[in-house]
């Protein structure tokens, strides 16, 4: 790890003043579960680390029936899982966080950190940059791309968004609050994630001197929701494919549906094709299967990851069936 100076501000205004106006100079420390690893591997070499751990207003989880849920960006994943209101009103968020499994990571990792964590792409982690290039040549298309994107992968980005919570939060219609030198702005979480076109860009709509402060989730009363993740190991592993589904039913008929895939594209991937299959139908295994098929109908797998198309299709199908059976 390269030596850095350390700041531990107690207000968000102070934190923003301590950050740099260009990427790479200063890094934010939230839970530290991944950011310290990136620094140890010299993928991230900031001269200053700004911890958000002492900023009280970034913590907390509050639910109000009229307005919904506010998650402080620095609320830990354990706090999310243990929140009675979240368990009752947004069970899919609890399932998504529980998929992380390791109690140590749940205790340290934050909601904001989950959303802003850097990709797991092994070329990026080995020092080839966010777009995994060596002397201008893209390494992923002909390389070890078994864990890379199957959708939104026309380049130059091929990594997958690693967030556990984002698919479910987007399916629930969440937005985020971002604080910077110009004050607070709100962004729909579906617009927050970006596919970078160059190594200097980031994977989300944050400037180098902005911080994520809150995640706001509208009330979900009357919906049914579930997620389904496919992973190789039961613990200490990222999913290969995931799906989040939120259904509004009218009797047994689907009135509206949100289907969002995770770990299949550089951003969490909404699947309107699947939603179109579901609306107006009664959920059955055949309907869920058809929706899964529609969700991946535009997939363009790389040389070694065609298997992920099937995993994503099944993840959508099973998330739909689970949502229809239970949910909130």
């Amino acid at each position: 790890m390269q030596a850095f100076e350390y700041a531990n501000p107690t207000t968000k205004e102070e934190a923003v003043r301590l950050l740099a106006n260009q990427w790479g100079e200063a890094e934010i420390l939230a839970g530290g579960t991944d950011s310290l690893s990136l620094m140890k591997d010299h993928v991230s070499t900031p001269r200053r680390v700004v911890s958000l751990q002492a900023i009280k207003e970034l913590r907390g989880i509050e639910f109000k029936p009229a307005t919904g849920l506010r998650l402080g960006a620095m609320a830990t994943l354990s706090e999310l899982i243990e929140s009675a209101a979240v368990r009752r009103e947004y069970p899919a968020l609890v399932e998504a966080a529980e998929g992380v499994r390791s109690p140590q990571i749940l205790n340290m990792g934050t909601v904001g950190g989950d959303l802003c964590q850097r990709p797991r792409c092994w070329y990026f982690r080995a020092g080839y940059g966010l777009l995994a290039r060596d002397d201008g040549k893209a390494l992923v298309p002909e390389g070890e791309n078994q864990y890379h994107a199957i959708l939104g992968n026309s380049g130059p980005a091929y990594f997958v968004n690693p967030s556990s919570l984002a698919p479910a939060l987007i399916a629930l219609g969440a937005k985020v609050r971002v604080f910077g030198p110009q004050g607070t702005r709100e962004v729909g979480l579906d617009k927050f994630f970006l596919t970078p076109a160059s190594d200097d860009q980031r994977e989300c709509d944050l400037k180098a001197n902005e911080i994520l402060t809150d995640i706001l989730v509208p009330p979900a009363k009357g919906t049914k929701m579930a997620i389904y993740e496919v992973r190789q190991r039961e613990a200490l592993d990222y999913p290969l494919a995931a799906a989040a589904v939120v259904l509004r039913l009218d009797g047994k008929t689907v009135k509206s549906a949100r289907v969002v895939l995770g770990h299949v594209a550089p951003v969490p991937w909404p699947a309107p094709e699947a939603e179109a299959v579901l609306v107006g139908k009664t959920i059955s295994e055949a309907v869920a299967d058809e929706a899964g098929k529609a969700a991946v109908s535009k997939a363009t797998p790389l040389s070694k990851n065609a298997y992920k198309v099937q995993l994503a299709r099944v993840a959508v199908k099973r998330a739909i069936l689970r949502a229809a059976q239970g949910g909130a």
Binding site: Y6, E14, S37, K40, T45, V49, S51, S78, Y128, L236
Partner: protein, 222 residues
């Protein structure tokens, strides 16, 4: 690889960093950021901001470990794990992956299991840190330790301190767990010898022993 060419800057030797800073401060010269390095101006450096920034040279740090205050002088980049092992000679927490993945460095911070490799020592100030060294107070084994011995819950032993700490934190929160709870609750630790069955039995037994002491009724065995 691109980082070999331009991204990795050699970490400055601590005394070099100190010297440069001391020189600039001591000389009292109003040096514009641009004169230092090309990268300088991007970071705010107004005096009130600077006052709150520590390092990169070693700074005084106080950690409360196993009930005792320990005063150290560490660079902000030093992890809690390295502080324990390299600066306090407490080598119970093991450095294995050093990337928050294996659990061998697990310690308990304010009652919660964490990876010591993924916490900066400077950020652990003001928190109660419990390490494996503090678990057998006065030479008497903690019930979790006794259960590990009884169930042969180790082979090479390298993951054992981390598993013991993770088990203690888990049982403090889940005093009467089912088998499945144990499997999930210890999901943050790896053992390459494969002693998971022994570890899980040990955790269940430790819970039973504790409940027995308190007159409670434990869930069935494995």
């Amino acid at each position: 690889m691109s980082w070999k060419k331009d991204k990795v800057r050699k970490p400055a030797k601590p005394n070099e960093a100190l010297t440069r800073r001391d020189f600039l401060q001591g000389a009292g010269v109003a040096v514009s950021g641009g004169l230092l390095v090309g990268r300088e101006p991007a970071i705010a450096a107004s005096p009130d901001e600077k006052a709150k920034v520590l390092g990169p040279e070693a700074v005084p740090i106080t950690l409360r470990i196993n009930g005792k205050a320990q005063k150290l002088t560490l660079e902000p980049r030093v992890t809690l794990l390295d502080a324990l092992r390299n600066h306090l000679d407490m080598t119970g927490a093991k450095k294995m992956c050093d990337r928050g993945t294996c659990g061998a460095c697990t310690v308990i911070l304010d009652g919660k299991a964490v990876y010591a490799c993924s916490v900066l020592a400077i950020a652990a100030q003001g928190k109660e840190i419990l390490t494996i060294e503090g678990l057998a107070a006065g030479g008497k084994l903690h019930p979790v330790m006794t259960a590990f011995v009884e169930h042969d819950a180790h082979q090479c032993g390298f993951c054992t301190p981390g598993f013991v700490m993770a088990s203690k934190a888990f049982l403090d929160k889940n005093p009467n767990p089912l088998q499945q709870d144990v499997e999930e609750g210890l999901g943050g630790n790896l053992c390459r010898c494969g002693v998971y069955v022994g570890v899980r039995q040990a955790a269940l037994d430790a819970a039973k022993a504790r409940l027995g002491e308190k007159g409670g009724k434990a869930h069935g065995k494995v």
